[in-house]
Structures are given as C-alpha cells and as structure tokens.
C-alpha cells in the first residue's frame, strides 16, 4: 500500500532490493536468526529459568530489588527478575533488531550494487543520484520497519506469557511506547545512514556488515550503564536519547546524501 505513493522507478528499485535481500542466503539467515534469538529464544530461556529456579537460589536478589522503581516494590524476587529483564535488558535486545536489520539491508542494497557492478547501470537511468539514494533508503527503512514490527509482536507474545505466568501486569509501558515509536525508527535510520557511509569504504557485503558492529557499541554501553546503576533509563530518558539520535540521523543523512555523487560512487 505504501508502495503506491512511490514513483514507478522508486517502486521498482524498492521491490528489486526486497527480492535481492531475500534472495541473499547470508542476509536472510542473519535477519531471521538474529531476530528469533533476540526476541524469542533469549526471553524464553530467561523465562524458563526464572519460572523453574527456586526463589532462594536466584543470585543477586538484593541488587535486583534495589533496581525496581517504587511502583514495583511489592514484587517477589521472580516477578522482580522478569520485570527487570523486560524493562532493562530486553529493550537493548529489541533495539538490536532495527539496528541489525537496517545495517544488513543497507549493506545488501548499497554495497551489493557496488560489488556487482550494477550501480553504474542504475546511474545511467533518468533517476538522479539523490532520488536513487532516497529510494534505497526508503526501501531499507521499510523492510527494517516490517522486521522490527514482526519482532516486536513476537516479543510481546513471549513477554505477555511471562507476565501471565508470573502474575505481573502487562509489560507495555511509556518507555516501550517511546522505544517503538521513536527510538527504534531513529535507530533504523541511523543504521542505514551509517551503512551508506561505510559502503564507500567497504569492498564487500561481508566487510560492510562487519563494520556495522561498531554502531552497536554505544547501544550496549548505554544499557550496561543502566545495569551498573550509573543512570536510570525511563521514558523521558528514551525520549531524549531518541531526539539525539534523530538529530544524528539528520546530520549523517545529509553527509551520506552529499557523498552519494555519481563520480564519487564510481571511483
């Protein structure tokens, strides 16, 4: 439906990129495996462990209880463990998905063209480099958004089951709302823009995906900081961080769009 608003060439390039990414075994397996691991496998394992471990054998119970907000002070240790996981650890896992999917799709879309020698052919069409850049970015963002949405739906089911089993209130909070509506889209665009810049230096798809590892580091540090008790990440914090990332998106996007010039691309 969204494709109907696009021009014929834009739609063609987006459809072609979708097929190409799906046809690439490496990209497809990365997108499916990593998403399944992060939103289903890991939460399920945590849930099984929490449900089946006797309360008195859960390590660091005091520390966990201290991390709870005032509204959750009446939770028992199992509830507290799952609550902390859902609100502190799983957001990090979840945000890895838009970051990973946008990096992988952008690597396929941008570096793939360069690798296969098809970029020059695209630049010979009436589409201007900026339009081509825009269409490719839109395609990567759309595909990542779909993957992120499906992943969140799967995650929501797993977490809701955990909430029911542990008699916890529904996990969805203001923080998750900001994560879904702002943080994840901002991170998606960041992943694409970063990969566009990285694609200029990368000779192959694999090399480009490896480079994308660098962009995950700030995300991990952010959540490690919370775990270490350096700061608390709530809805307001996510809102501020999202705003910073959106600003970064605009700056990096501008740089990436300017670097997407015919002569530079064909060097």
């Amino acid at each position: 439906m969204a494709l109907k608003k696009l021009s014929v060439p834009e739609e063609a390039i987006i459809r072609k990129d979708f097929h190409e990414i799906w046809d690439s075994k490496m990209a497809r397996s990365t997108l499916i495996t990593v998403s399944l691991m992060l939103v289903i496998a890991i939460p399920v394992i945590f849930l099984i462990v929490i449900v089946n471990t006797p309360a008195n054998q859960i390590n660091g119970a005091d520390k966990l209880m201290k991390m709870l907000p005032p509204s959750a002070q009446n939770f028992n240790i199992k509830q507290a463990s799952f609550y902390i996981m859902t609100n502190s650890l799983f957001p990090m896992f979840f945000l890895m998905i838009p970051l990973m999917s946008s990096s992988v799709t952008a690597a396929c879309s941008f570096v793939g063209e360069r690798e296969h020698g098809t970029l020059e052919t695209l630049l010979l069409t009436p589409m201007k480099p900026k339009q081509l850049f825009g269409a490719k970015v839109k395609g990567c963002v759309m595909l990542s958004a779909v993957i992120t949405a499906i992943s969140f739906a799967a995650f929501a089911i797993v977490t809701s089951v955990g909430d029911i089993l542990l008699h916890l209130p529904f996990f969805f909070s203001w923080s998750w709302l900001v994560l879904i509506l702002l943080f994840a889209p901002a991170v998606t665009v960041l992943g694409v823009m970063f990969m566009v810049l990285a694609s200029a230096k990368s000779k192959s798809y694999v090399e480009a995906v490896q480079t994308s590892g660098y962009i995950v580091i700030p995300l991990i540090l952010l959540f490690l900081g919370e775990f270490a008790g350096l700061f608390a990440l709530n809805a307001v914090a996510f809102l501020i961080i999202s705003a910073v990332i959106i600003a970064l998106d605009v700056i990096i996007g501008e740089i990436a769009a300017r670097s997407f010039r015919t002569e530079k691309l064909l060097k």
Binding site: V8, P9, E11, T118, L124, P126, T262
Partner: protein, 307 residues
C-alpha cells in the same frame, strides 16, 4: 546542418589531477549518424562516453547531447540516451526478462508496457528462448546482447556504445552490428560506437574519430581520412606469369600494384595495358581500409616512419 546530436568542445578529463585521460576533444556527430570512435584500450574512449552521459565531470571544456549538457540535465540526457559500457552490468540473479522489465520501469515505463517492451527486445536480440534463465547462466554473447537490449529499453535517440562486440564470437558480433546498423538506418538513432575492432566499425560507421592517449588524431569520413593521411588508391592488376608491368610492384599474391591519383586513372591504365599487348585477367581499384588508415595515423602520431 541541424544541431548535432553529440557535441564536444575542448573536452578534457584528468583523474586525481595527475592522469590525463582526454585532452581537448572537439567533435560533432550529426543526428542519425553512426560514428566510430576508434582507439586502443586506454585511449580515452570510455572516459568520453562517461563524460557524454554525465557520469564524469569534465576537467575542462564542455559537451552536449541533443543540445543538453549531461551534467546539468542528467535526467533528460539519460532519458534520450541508451548507454552500453563494459562496466555497467545487470543483475546476475535476475532473469533476462526481469532485468529488462526492471530497467524499463527505471525509465518510468508502466509495468504492462515495460513487459511488452522487454518481450519485443528479447525477441529482437534472439534471447526469447533464454528469457527465463538467470543472467549469470548466460554466455558472454547472450549477456552482451542483453546489455544492448537494456540500452535500447527506453527507445533512445542517441546510443553510446563502448565496445559492444568485445568478447563476442564472429556470428554474435555480426548480429550485434546488424542490429546497430538497422537502428541507425530505420529509426534514425545516432550511434557513437567506441571500438578497437576496426573491421566491424567499417561495416557500419559513416564517419570516424581516431583517438590515442586521450588525443583525437583525426576525424572524418573514410575518404577524408585517407586523403589527409596521404593514402592513394591503388590500381591492382592480375596478369599471366611471365608478363611484367613497368612502375608496378608485384605482390606475393601475384597481383601487380601501383598508386593512382584518382579513379579516372584506372580506365586509362587498362587501355594502355591492352594496347601494349598485356593479357589482363583481372583489374580493380584497391582503397585503404579503416585499419590501414588507423595504423597510419597512429604511426604518424608516434613519430614512426611509414613504409
């Protein structure tokens, strides 16, 4: 003469400020003309094509295609041009049909029309039977023909072809040449054909440019080029063994040859031979081929002595 389809004025390109690929190229190609741009690898042919379609920015000078500057009006120029270069590849994981349909849509052609156009080109290029095969399974000849089909997908007014017959067997090369010639003849498409395969060029080109090391050595039709290179037509005569002709040289093939100034010299010579009692089996005027002319210009440019 109307506006040229292709115009270059002192066009130069230097890469990284050090390597000069093209020096002050000036030429005009008329609409509907098939122009052969001849030169060895690295002469500057591909650079010229890339400058003409706006993929490269000139270091100095200017160029235009159908009156439009490619750098400023890139979209419009690309809409009018079909470009085939060795480095502009198609998608190996897509079939021939999918590739053509995709590129048709990149030119804004609606899906239904894109399919019809792709089908007609596949039939025309004798690729209909392999339309459903992925491109990576195509032979070099098939892939070249598909590239030519891609260059024609937008019904171009100007075709910029860089070595379209490279790597093709003689049969495929002839097929591609016939296609190019027919496009120019029937549809009035202007063709700028870069090649180092001189014999193929002579079959279809009306005018030529000879380029070496980025410098245009000569430009014109075969006759002009031959005259400027001080090539004369030769009278060639075959006589029975034992007979000799004064001022003629005998070649290894048994033919006697001598330079003549113009075609009108030939009947006079033949009359003289008959009057002298020679038995003339065969006689013809031998003109220089584009290959002879090309090598003459290259040798003159290199300062070598011509024998």
């Amino acid at each position: 003469m109307g506006e040229p389809a292709i115009h270059a004025d002192r066009l130069s390109k230097t890469y990284n400020g050090t390597v000069t690929a093209l020096r002050g190229l000036s030429l005009d190609v008329a609409q509907g003309e098939v122009f052969g741009f001849l030169g060895p690898n690295g002469a500057g042919k591909t650079t010229t094509v890339k400058l003409l379609n706006g993929l490269l920015k000139p270091s100095s000078g200017s160029c235009s295609v159908m009156g439009l500057q490619p750098l400023i009006h890139s979209s419009e120029v690309h809409k009018m041009c079909g470009v085939m270069t060795e480095s502009a590849k198609m998608y190996g994981n897509m079939t021939g049909m999918e590739n053509l349909e995709f590129f048709a849509r990149m030119y804004g052609v609606e899906p239904g029309k894109a399919k019809a156009r792709a089908e007609s080109l596949l039939k025309c290029m004798d690729l209909w039977d392999v339309r459903g095969r992925e491109l990576h399974t195509y032979s070099t000849g098939m892939a070249q023909r598909l590239s030519l089909a891609r260059a024609l997908i937008n019904d171009p007014k100007v075709l910029l072809l860089d070595e379209p017959t490279n790597g093709l067997d003689p049969e495929s090369a002839n097929a591609v040449n016939s296609m190019i010639a027919s496009l120019a003849c029937k549809e009035g498409v202007t063709v700028f054909l870069c090649t180092h395969q001189l014999r193929y060029a002579q079959d279809i080109c009306r005018r030529y440019g000879i380029i070496e090391k980025g410098t245009l050595l000569a430009c014109g039709d075969l006759e002009t080029l031959a005259r400027n290179a001080q090539f004369c037509p030769k009278a060639a005569v075959r006589l029975p063994d034992g007979e000799q002709l004064e001022n003629f040289e005998r070649g290894n093939d048994g033919w006697w040859r001598a330079d003549i100034k113009e075609d009108d010299d030939m009947p006079r010579l033949l009359k003289k031979f008959v009057e002298e009692g020679h038995h003339v089996y065969e006689a013809r005027i031998v003109r220089p081929s584009i290959e002879d002319i090309y090598f003459r210009y290259v040798q003159i440019n290199r300062g070598e002595e011509w024998h």
